[in-house]
């Protein structure tokens, strides 16, 4: 059916009322001679008027390409200041990775120091500046600090002056603006979880499409969060309760012991997530030892996630005590193994098969002349612990150190958690160090899926965000493994966190009384923290004496110290 054919058809008058215009168009087509214009030649029709075309077309149509050309810095800043939303500066961040400091941060916000400002701006992109600023900060610390006993543990930071509180106070001003707008991944993941809870498949589908486009296990923390979140959502949708596939992202369990140890040590060096709790625990142990009248054996029960790497520093410090190390140091490691229930796989608790830190610890102890004994209780249910199992004796100083493990215990129906704390109480320790995530519970008994998911995501965001800074935005197998391990929080059914206050209540209810951390412990931790990114801070609660570790003005974890309440003895 050609056009020509149609036009021939049209040439028959279709109405007697008046002549249809198509007739004339046919005329134009077929008898071009008398007409200056032809239907097919608008160019001819208009050709005499080239300079007079409608002004709309004068505008160049190349703004598309403009988008790809990073504007000069000054121009960006100007644009930001004139636009209706100061956050618009984030727009420019995409075009170039080497942007100046984002002007989005309102200038009237108090800033602790120039260096921390730089660091904050750098995040992933500018490892160099963050390094420089860290150096300068260390130098400053050098000047104001004097050598002390905690330095041995820290190695790198020769400072222990208690200027920390001042610093923390100043910092909190700058950090409390936890810019939610920059956390875009959550703005897709949480609505998706909410749509799942609301049974709105078309919305879920839409958001999954979008998340899928933006998710990546490499890149900045948001892209990574989107990738982990997407996997968790898909896992939830596919079949809640089915084993979690963690293919692609390595976890502790799937790696090898050597790499695992190296990674943990390096991570502790660049991110205080575990290092600060470890340091506080060690100081607390020393503190409790100090309070004992005569030299007695020390027995530490380790229910933690440090996989042994926290103990060499403690052992070393024991040799420096006045009066020397205890006659015998016993460490009972309550480890988790790969065989544990997959769906309750707490982040950071597992270790690779074949991993055993005992020989290294023993070797190290021998070198520094400490009489060390290590007892491993593999795959041992926490609820079944008792004095016989850990072979404690009345003449030793028993200290129980729990870190990031107890939140995996059911806290209602049945209340395994209180039960376990009672077990601890029954072992009559001289002290208990309890370190946990300072977060609300995300288990399905407490909240719906959407709420729980958003809390898990919040946890993971802090980890990924701080890890991104710690690794200076660089990709590595180590980073992938640490993040993959943290991402278990999204799928782990055992994420039954509680807020610090709730934990304290629980401890008090089973007969423990809260102890205040010694100055050494807090100051040591603060001094140690200086070597990390300035978005980290330590906050000591006047109310309960707990030491909180905060990232960008948000609580991450807390450490608390307990003894058996005098009246319950």
């Amino acid at each position: 059916m050609t056009k020509y054919h149609h036009q021939q058809l049209l040439s028959h008058p279709s109405s007697s009322l008046s002549q249809p215009i198509l007739d004339s168009s046919k005329m134009i087509n077929e008898e071009p001679d008398p007409n200056p214009m032809s239907d097919h030649n608008i160019l001819e029709w208009i050709e005499g008027s080239l300079p007079f075309l409608p002004p709309i077309f004068d505008d160049p149509y190349d703004s598309w390409w403009q988008l790809h050309v990073p504007a000069p810095d000054q121009e960006q800043i100007n644009r930001c200041s004139t636009s209706f939303d100061s956050n618009v500066s984030t727009v420019t961040a995409a075009t170039s990775a080497t942007l100046p400091e984002p002007p989005a941060i309102p200038s009237d916000h108090p800033r602790p120091s120039d260096s921390s400002k730089k660091r904050k701006a750098s995040d992933d992109h500018a490892p160099k500046t963050s390094q420089i600023s860290r150096k300068s900060q260390n130098r400053r610390n050098n000047n104001e600090g004097d050598e002390g006993e905690t330095i041995v543990e820290q190695g790198l930071v020769p400072a222990r002056k208690s200027s920390g509180s001042k610093k923390a106070a100043a910092k909190s001003g700058g950090n409390t603006c936890n810019n939610k707008d920059g956390r875009w991944a959550e703005q897709l993941l949480n609505p998706c979880a909410a749509a799942i809870t609301a049974s709105n498949p078309s919305r879920v589908q839409h958001l999954l499409y979008v998340i899928n486009e933006l998710a990546s296990l490499t890149g900045d923390a948001n892209h990574r969060l989107a990738a982990h979140g997407l996997r968790a959502l898909k896992h939830h949708l596919a079949s809640p309760g089915s084993p979690v596939t963690s293919a692609g992202s390595t976890t502790f369990a799937s790696t090898n012991p050597k790499f695992f140890t190296e990674s943990l040590i390096n991570f502790s060096d660049i991110n205080p997530w575990f290092r600060i709790p470890n340091s506080i625990a060690n100081s607390s142990i020393l503190q409790i030892l100090q309070e004992q009248n005569q030299p007695r054996n020390l027995h530490i029960v380790d229910v933690g996630v440090s996989h042994g790497i926290q103990w060499p520093t403690l052992l070393e410090e024991l040799t420096r005590r006045s009066g020397g190390p205890p006659p015998l140091v016993r460490i009972t490691l309550i480890t988790r193994t790969n065989h544990e229930e997959q769906s309750r796989n707490t982040p950071f608790a597992a270790s690779p098969s074949g991993y055993n830190c005992s020989s290294q610890l023993l070797g190290f102890a021998k070198k520094i002349n400490i009489n060390l004994q290590i007892n491993r209780l593999d795959n041992f249910p926490l609820q079944n612990l008792n004095s016989q199992v850990i072979k404690s004796s009345p003449d030793e100083t028993l200290i129980i150190c729990t870190q990031f493990r107890l939140h995996n215990l059911n806290h209602n129906n049945p209340d395994d958690r209180t039960y376990f704390l009672k077990v601890l109480r029954s072992m009559e320790p001289k002290g208990v160090v309890l370190t946990e995530n300072n977060a609300d519970c995300s288990c399905h008994n407490c909240v719906d899926f959407a709420t729980g998911f958003s809390r898990r995501v919040e946890y993971l965001w802090r980890f990924l965000d701080s890890a991104s800074v710690a690794y200076k935005g660089r990709e590595s197998d180590e980073r992938r493994m640490m993040e993959g391990e943290a991402a278990k929080a999204l799928t782990n059914a055992g994420e039954m966190n509680e807020r610090k206050e709730k934990w304290c209540e629980r401890m008090a209810s089973v007969g423990f009384s809260r102890q205040v951390f010694g100055e050494d412990a807090v100051d040591g931790a603060r001094a140690l923290l200086r070597k990390y990114d300035s978005n980290w801070e330590i906050r000591v609660e006047d109310r309960d004496g707990c030491v909180g570790l905060w990232w960008k003005g948000q609580p991450v974890s807390f450490c608390s110290l307990w003894k058996i309440a005098p009246d319950t003895k």
Binding site: S18, S49, I56, F57, Y61, D85, L237
Partner: protein, 512 residues
């Protein structure tokens, strides 16, 4: 053959991810892929109905809940596809988990089936970006990230229809994000693509493109002629017995509408020739160019009229600086049949501010015209009145236009890109910016509705006029259709999408 298969595939595969049909769908897809690959040279119906790729109803209404059973399976199916089909670089690591089925492996290549799928991904991204810009949980950062991703995926010059279209929508949203789009479009008397940009290209080069693009648009689609012919036919019918006709044209552009009217007038067989006077409105203010452009149009029309022996005179009437219309500035001659011609927003037209149009129409009412011919863009029925709903409607609108152009001229890819670049791209940017700024403002409805509420009376579109429109549309691809939406209104659509309407009105106290 290929067509049938593709349509089947789209219908089954995309709008609803029903578990029961998944197997069949993917099997069909395999067949399709091979078939289309061989027939890619004459792929005239390749993208026959893009609407079937995206289920617009599904997208535009959020509350469409499915039954809860099969919910998980459904999403599983979908996400499996998402992960497996595209994304070599961004692929998630578990895409090769134990659940990989033969079907998904088959889909795992950037073939034609992938193109459709990519279109769907783009629509989702665009929706999300629009929502991030304006929704309850507004996040500029999220919008930025999505737009960055979109820019990785599309270019206005290459790729499928949906990819090129998405490029312009991406750009439009980016303009909003930067605040530039909104500001530029807010100035009356300036065209949306305005003169605010830092780069001003040299006019001459650009105008060559414009001419070529206009020519192509005329050849490729009935959009321009539909409006002109329907209006002209109505005018001819209204002035059958008149010897003097005065047409006031709101936006004369290059004047091509009147050439065909003159020819029709000249060929009227009964009695002496009719005198035609045209008054073109020109934009006041800074637009000196507008004046000279119209002058040139007038010169050309006069020359043409002389060449065919049509008595003709041409005038200009300048609008106020804010493009408001003062009826008193019009020279009227007793005994003339007064016609008001209002062509709005044809694909190649500049955007006119609604305040200006409103002042023109209400001014026209005081002149008691014989006839008002109105051509305007149709908007879809929008359930969700917010920005996102209108944004999606606009996306749908332009995707129909893109598809109609491609269906008509499948092999003229470069020509289409030119038309898109010169006309459609700027239109999209302007239209999105307007929707964005109009958030929360009361909607005035279509201009036809406003004419009715002003008291203008509808005049029936004649049978001849209706036939003519159908014949015109028949010259082009099968997908076009003409609908008589009211007795005085014809609508030109592509497939199921209404695009342009032409309606005919008369003054309240006219006895015609």
């Amino acid at each position: 053959m290929a067509v049938v298969f593709r349509n089947t595939m789209m219908d089954v595969d995309f709008p609803c991810y029903s578990t029961t049909t998944t197997t069949t769908a993917t099997t069909t897809a395999t067949t399709t892929t091979t078939t289309t690959a061989t027939s890619s040279d004459d792929n005239c119906c390749d993208w026959n109905d893009w609407s079937s790729v995206v289920d617009w109803d599904e997208i535009s209404c959020d509350g469409d809940h499915m039954k809860d059973d099969g919910f998980h399976d459904l999403l599983e199916t979908m996400t499996d596809e998402i992960v497996t089909v595209h994304h070599p670089a961004w692929a998630l690591p578990d895409r090769r988990s134990s659940t990989v089925s033969p079907e998904t492996v088959m889909m795992d290549s950037e073939d034609d089936g992938g193109e459709d799928f990519k279109g769907l991904r783009l629509v989702h991204l665009l929706m999300a970006a629009a929502e991030a810009l304006t929704g309850v949980n507004k996040s500029r950062e999220l919008a930025r990230v999505i737009l960055v991703r979109l820019k990785e995926l599309v270019s206005p010059n290459d790729g499928s229809n949906m990819e090129r279209l998405a490029a312009y929508f991406t750009e439009a949203l980016h303009g909003l994000l930067e605040g530039a789009g909104g500001a530029a479009a807010g100035v009356y008397g300036k065209h949306f693509s305005g003169h605010h940009g830092p780069h001003v290209k040299d006019d001459h080069h650009h105008q060559t493109d414009v001419l070529a693009a206009f020519q192509l648009l005329q050849d490729m689609s009935p959009y321009v002629k539909f409006g002109h012919f329907t209006a002209n036919q109505a005018i001819l019918e209204a002035v059958v017995h008149d010897r003097r006709v005065h047409i006031v044209d709101y936006d004369i552009m290059e004047g091509i509408q009147w050439a065909s009217l003159m020819q029709a007038l000249v060929s009227r067989k009964d009695g002496p020739s009719t005198h035609l006077r045209i008054t073109a409105l020109s934009r006041g203010g800074s637009a000196r160019r507008s004046f000279t452009t119209i002058q040139e149009t007038g010169r050309r029309l006069s020359a043409f009229a002389a060449s065919i022996g049509q008595p003709f005179s041409f005038h200009q009437c300048r609008l106020d600086s804010d493009e408001a219309f003062r009826p008193s500035s019009l020279k009227l001659v007793r005994g003339e049949a007064l016609i008001i011609n209002c062509m709005l927003h044809l694909p190649h037209f500049s955007y006119r501010a609604s305040e200006s149009i409103a002042s023109f129409l209400s001014g026209a009412k005081t002149l008691n015209p014989r006839l008002i011919t109105l051509v305007e863009e149709e908007v879809g029925p929008i359930a969700n009145e917010g920005f996102v709903g209108k944004f999606i409607d606009s996306l749908h609108h332009y995707s129909a236009i893109y598809d109609s152009l491609e269906a008509g001229f499948p092999l003229q890819g470069r020509a289409r890109v030119l038309v898109e670049r010169v006309f459609l791209g700027p239109r999209i940017a302007g239209s999105i910016a307007r929707i964005y700024r109009a958030q929360g403002e009361a909607e005035g409805g279509s201009w036809g509705e406003r004419l009715a509420s002003m008291g203008f009376r509808p005049i029936s579109v004649s049978f001849a006029n209706h036939c003519q429109a159908k014949l015109l549309v028949g010259l082009f691809n099968d997908g076009y259709r003409v609908e008589e939406l009211a007795c005085n209104k014809l609508v030109l659509g592509w497939k199921s999408r209404r695009l342009l309407s032409a309606s005919v009105w008369t003054s309240p106290d006219n006895d015609m």
